[in-house]
Symmetry: C2
Subunit: 370 residues, 2 copies
Amino acid sequence: MEFKVTHRAGDCRARAGIIKTPHGSFETPVFMPVGTQGSVKALSPEDLTDADASIILANTYHLYLRPGAHLIRRLGGLHRFMNWKGAILTDSGGFQVYSLARLREISERGVVFRSHIDGSKHLIGPEEAIDIQEALGADIIMAFDECTPYPADYDYVLKSVGLTSLWARRCMDHRKREDQALFGIVQGGMYKDLREKSASELVAMNFDGYALGGLSVGEDAVTRQRVIDDVIDFLPATAPVYLMGVGKPEDLVEAVRRGVDMFDCVMPTRNARNGALFTTTGRLNIKNARYAEDDRPIDERCNCYTCANYSRAYLRHLFMAREILAYRLNSIHNISYYCSLMSRMRSAIKDNNFDHFCSEFYTLKQNRID
Amino acid sequence: MEFKVTHRAGDCRARAGIIKTPHGSFETPVFMPVGTQGSVKALSPEDLTDADASIILANTYHLYLRPGAHLIRRLGGLHRFMNWKGAILTDSGGFQVYSLARLREISERGVVFRSHIDGSKHLIGPEEAIDIQEALGADIIMAFDECTPYPADYDYVLKSVGLTSLWARRCMDHRKREDQALFGIVQGGMYKDLREKSASELVAMNFDGYALGGLSVGEDAVTRQRVIDDVIDFLPATAPVYLMGVGKPEDLVEAVRRGVDMFDCVMPTRNARNGALFTTTGRLNIKNARYAEDDRPIDERCNCYTCANYSRAYLRHLFMAREILAYRLNSIHNISYYCSLMSRMRSAIKDNNFDHFCSEFYTLKQNRID
C-alpha cells in the first residue's frame, strides 16, 4: 500500500490524498461501506461501484464464525468469494468481540468468547486475528486490540492500552503476507495522556496506517472531536488516519476538518433499511405520509440510480409494503450520499475552501429535519 | 395489442408468435414474472430486462388496496411509478379476492370482502375491476371473474360460469381505454361441458385474448392438462391463450405443448427466496451443506448475472447469513431460468423439433433431484 498526501486545506487540518492498493487506487478522505458478512447489505458489487465506493470494510469476527476464513481462502479469498474487484479492509475483530460476543474472558493470550450465532466457544488473540485476516486476503488489515469500554476508569484504560500495544507488537511479528498493509489501532479512552501513550507506542512499531479505536461507543461529539484533535498530533503526517465506526455526516465533516482520512460506518446502510434517508437538506423518513404522493426524487441534488429513476411516493410504497427492493434502493441512495459527501470534501480541500464547504453543508442541512 | 402466430410445431399444438403492445413487442410462448405490489420481489427493472423478461404481471387487488390505483394514476400510471419500460398485464383481482381476502360475499353486483392488510371493507365488481385496471394503465387487462373453488360440485360451477360470463359482458361494456387489450377468463372447473360453455360465451364477446382461470388450485397435473386440452379446442386460433398462475417448469412445457402462449407464476421468485433454485438438471436447495465449498455456479449451462459471477458456496453463505443480496441473486437466476426455458421452447417450435426438446428437457432434469 502507498499513501500520498496531495493537498492540504489552508484553513484547517483537512487533507486530500491517494491510497494505492493491490485492488486499485482511491482518493482520501474516503468512506468505506460496511460489508459485515461478505456483502454490503442489500447491495451488489456493481451497486457499490455505481455509488462511487472504491473500498469496503468486512468484519473479521463475522467471517471467521461464518462461513469461516479458511473456507474463504480455499475459494480464492474474500475479493473473489464476494465478486468485489475494489479494495477491502478487514477490521481486527476486537470491536465485535467487545460488542457482540458473549462471556468474554480477556487475557494476554487473547479473548475467549462465545459466538453470537450458536454459542460455540472461540479464542481470538493477535496471532489468530492475523491468521484470519491473511486467509481473507484484504488489502488493509488491522492489529488486534482491546476496544476499551466507555466510560472506563483511568487504571482500566491504562492496562488496556498496555495490552493493545503488546498485541500490536505480536501482530507485527506474526504477519507473513507482504501484500497487505497493517494498521495499528490507537486506544486510550477519553484520556489524553493515555491516547498519547498508545499512539507513541504504536508509532514506534511503524505501522502502515493508524486507526482511532474506542470511539463511537457512547461519548458525545465534543469529547470525540477533542480526542481526535489530541491523537492526530501524535501520529506521523505521512500515514493515513482511520476513524473507526464513525458516523453521521456531520461527524465525518468534523473529523475530516481535523485530519482524518478514512471512515467506515453501518449508518448509511442500516438507516436505509429503516427508511431514514440522507439528503443535502437533512434527513427524511420515507415512511412519512407526506411522501405518499410526492413525485420528486429523495434529493434533487443527488445523481444516484435511485434518485434518477424513482419517486419518493414509490419508495414509500415499497417500504410500507416491505418490498425487498426498498432496502436496495434506499441503500444505494444513502451510500451514494456518503460517497458524494466525501467527494465534495475532497474537492473543497483541493480548492482550498473547506471552511466555506462546511458553512454551506450546515446551512443546507438545517433546511429540513424530519 | 396485436398477436400473430409465426410458427406452429409440426408434432404437437405448440405455437410461437409475437405480441405487440404500447410498451414493446415480445415473442410467445412467454413467461411473465409476478410483480404483485408493483415490484417483482427483490428485483429491479434492469434485473428483469437482463433476465430477458419483457412483460410482467401486477396484481390489481394488491395495488388497489396499497398504495391505491388512483394514486398510481395521478403519478403517471404503473409503468412510470415502478420505472418499468416493458409491457404489463394486470390480473382482474378475482383470484386474490378468492385466495387472500376475508369474509367474501359474492353477488351479481360484485364481491364484498375485507382487506388482508387492515380488515377494511371493500367492493369490487366488474366495473370497479375495469376502473382500477384503467387507472393502473397496464397494456393487457383482465375481465373480472369468479375463481371457482376446487373441488366444487357441478351446480355451483354452472352458476359460477354464468356469473363470470355476466361480469365479462359488463367489463366489455364498461371499458373506456382503447390502448389496453382486454382478456376474458374461462372458468368451468374441471367439467368439460362447463369449460365449453364458459369459453363459447366469452368467445362470442370477442375478447383480445383468453385466459384459463381456476387452475393451479389443487387439481393434479393430469387433470389440468386434460382441461387445457379441452379448452384450447373452444378458443379461436387467432387469439393468445394465457394459463394463469401455472407453474413448475414441466407444467409450462406441457402447457406449451398443448397450445398455451402466456404464463405467470410466483414460483421462480418465491422459491428463490426459500433457496430453491431451478437448473437444467433439476432443482437444488442452496441451503444444503454439500454446497458449502462448491465453487461452481448454480447451473453451468446458465448465462445469468448470478451464474456469471457467484459460486454456490457464496450463495449458500449469503442465504445462511440471511443477507438481502441472497434473495436478489437467487431471484435473478430463477427468473432467468424461466425466461430461458421459454426461449428454448420458442426455438424448438421454430425448428420444428418440440418433441425432441421435451425428451431432452425431461432427461436432463432427472439427473439430479435435491
